[in-house]
């Protein structure tokens, strides 16, 4: 029983990190038709800058941790906004070239991170409470998972409120459905493109800091590894669907945890799930619609 609870909660915690990466990916794809290979780089950049800040302010203090979250989100947001504005937007409406640009950027920037921070993983530490465990139903759950879950829920609620309550949110929801009709109403969707990259980048940067705590290290490949699972999550959840991304994140991560524990092949279970979804529901669990 305690094992099941542990796997379940750590799975949801991992799902929270997947969601932070996948939410941006899914919205970017839904609105712009771009598969953003550079999304992992936003995450890694956030994780490294967050780590640098925490190290300077005292990695084991709460202030240092809070600052690393803030800086991580900010770093991801700024990097993403610049990427959209100066690279992706130059190739407006040319989706494949946009994908290629993000592939090239990811390659170059990961190499640059290698050069700056070295290829070896940096082991990190946070406030002591984070690495302790809390006992729930007999299971000793690492506290950092709770932080990840809470923050992912906060991000989810924030994005939903943004999409539902603001004019730009409305433009993004409409644009995911039918971008050309939005422009035919006199709206310049390019602003919405930059905005969605910025939001996605911020979530990824935040996810980077949380992932580095959950895994205990940060390395230049951190984002690339998570990116592949985030891709799988977005396909399973339905490209462009925020709710789908949230459900699929948890589904994939929990499945992965259980399969890893009982069978040893968590990654395969995820790929099999992907194959099953693609065969039975090619448009994913929630299809192409932002229902929030």
């Amino acid at each position: 029983m305690s094992t099941v609870v542990l796997l379940l909660i750590t799975g949801v915690g991992l799902g929270a990190i997947y969601f932070l990466v996948a939410s941006g990916l899914s919205l970017i794809y839904g609105l712009m038709g771009v598969l953003n290979f550079a999304h992992g780089v936003f995450l890694t950049f956030g994780a490294f800058l967050g780590w640098e800040v925490a190290a300077r302010m005292g990695a084991t203090t709460w202030a240092g941790f809070a600052a690393s979250l803030l800086v991580g989100a900010l770093a991801g947001a700024v990097f993403a906004a610049l990427t959209e504005r100066f690279l992706v937007q130059r190739l407006y409406e040319r989706h494949i070239e946009q994908v290629l640009i993000t592939v090239g950027l990811a390659l170059a920037v990961v190499a640059l991170f290698d050069g700056i921070w070295g290829t070896d993983a940096r082991f990190i530490s946070g406030p002591p409470w984070m690495s302790r465990t809390t006992t729930i139903a007999g299971a000793n759950v690492p506290n950092d998972r709770f932080v990840a879950i809470v923050l992912a829920v906060v991000v989810l609620v924030a994005i939903v409120l943004f999409l539902q309550r603001t004019r730009y949110g409305m433009i993004i929801r409409a644009g995911v459905e039918n971008r050309s009709m939005v422009t035919a109403l006199g709206i310049d969707v390019r602003t919405a493109f930059t905005l969605i990259f910025t939001i996605g980048g911020a979530a990824a940067g935040l996810g980077g800091v949380l992932a580095s705590h959950a895994f205990g290290y940060v390395s230049p490949m951190l984002g690339q590894t998570l990116l592949i699972f985030a891709f799988i999550v977005t396909v399973i959840g339905g490209l462009g669907s925020l709710t789908g991304a949230a459900i699929a994140s948890v589904l994939v991560a929990v499945l992965q945890q259980f399969a890893n524990y009982y069978w040893g092949y968590g990654d395969f279970a995820v790929v099999v799930l992907l194959a099953v979804v693609v065969l039975t529901r090619p448009s994913g669990l929630m299809g192409k619609k932002v229902t929030a």
Binding site: R167, M170, I171, R173, A174, E177, N178, S180, M181, V182, T183, A184, L185, G186, I187, D188, V189, K289, V290, T291
Partner: protein
């Protein structure tokens, strides 16, 4: 350029520039358009009179919708497109709409995940007054159903949302593509009434298969065949000419009020 049909008086209203008071609000000359490398509009000349309805007619697949989309900048195009004398042929779509071109697409294209109210709010353009009074007077249902997701509306109601989005703003011209397509006869009448009101607010370029609606509303017609404009003229003269309507539309405009719908 324009080869006129053999009817007696069809060529009386030519494609050339007219005197100031009746200067066209929208002037299209030698328009070509393509979709995915495929030429869909070969050569279209047309002008929309500063008041009333100008109908764009032709059989299915002759390029009526493509012509409208090309004017909106939604597909690749070349040629002259002037709005009140200003060249808009190279502007991006959102700027064309921003210059005061209202667009009601063929398949309504309401945002089905957004509520009716949100669909209208999205259409609010900066620098324009927003005529909710007019919209809700024409379509009271939209006010009642404001909180309903547009995707759950009936086809007729969706058409109202689509028309309302265009009527909400102060537009210089409205491009309305097959507003009665697939609607029940009762709704056709309702939409036609709304179109008549719309034409009082701004001049309309209307694509319409229902020739009775055209007869009731339109003053001028432009007829396309195979991506080319082949006839310009007075609406009732054209519709009363069984030879011309048979040849260009495949119907007897004078005898069949249901038209090709």
């Amino acid at each position: 350029m324009t080869s006129s049909p053999p009817s007696r008086d069809a060529a009386t209203v030519g494609a050339g520039p007219t005197a100031r008071p009746t200067a066209p609000v929208l002037l299209v000359r030698d328009l070509q358009a393509h979709v995915a490398g495929q030429q869909v509009v070969e050569h279209v000349d047309l002008q929309v009179a500063p008041t009333g309805v100008t109908a764009l007619l032709g059989r299915n697949g002759v390029g009526k919708t493509s012509t409208i989309k090309a004017v909106m900048g939604l597909i690749g195009r070349s040629g002259t497109i002037e709005l009140d004398g200003e060249d808009i042929s190279t502007l991006p779509t959102f700027r064309i709409a921003g210059r005061g071109v209202g667009y009601v697409p063929e398949d309504r294209e309401v945002f089905s995940g957004l509520t009716v109210t949100e669909n209208l709010r999205l259409a609010e353009r900066r620098g324009s007054e927003h005529r909710y009074d007019l919209v809700y007077e024409l379509f009271p249902e939209l006010e009642q159903r404001g909180a309903q997701a547009a995707g759950t509306l009936s086809g007729g109601q969706q058409q109202m949302v689509s028309l309302a989005r265009a009527l909400l703003n102060d537009n210089r011209v409205l491009l309305i593509d097959e507003p009665t397509k697939g609607l029940a006869p009762r709704l056709v009448t309702e939409v036609a009434e709304a179109l008549a009101r719309a034409a009082e607010v701004a001049p309309v370029l209307l694509v319409e298969q229902n020739l009775q609606v055209v007869r009731d509303l339109a003053r001028h017609v432009v007829v396309l065949t195979d991506g080319r404009s082949v006839h310009h003229g007075d609406a009732s003269d054209f519709l009363d000419d069984p030879v011309a309507t048979q040849r260009l539309l495949g119907v007897h405009g004078g005898t069949d009020p249901a038209g090709a719908a």
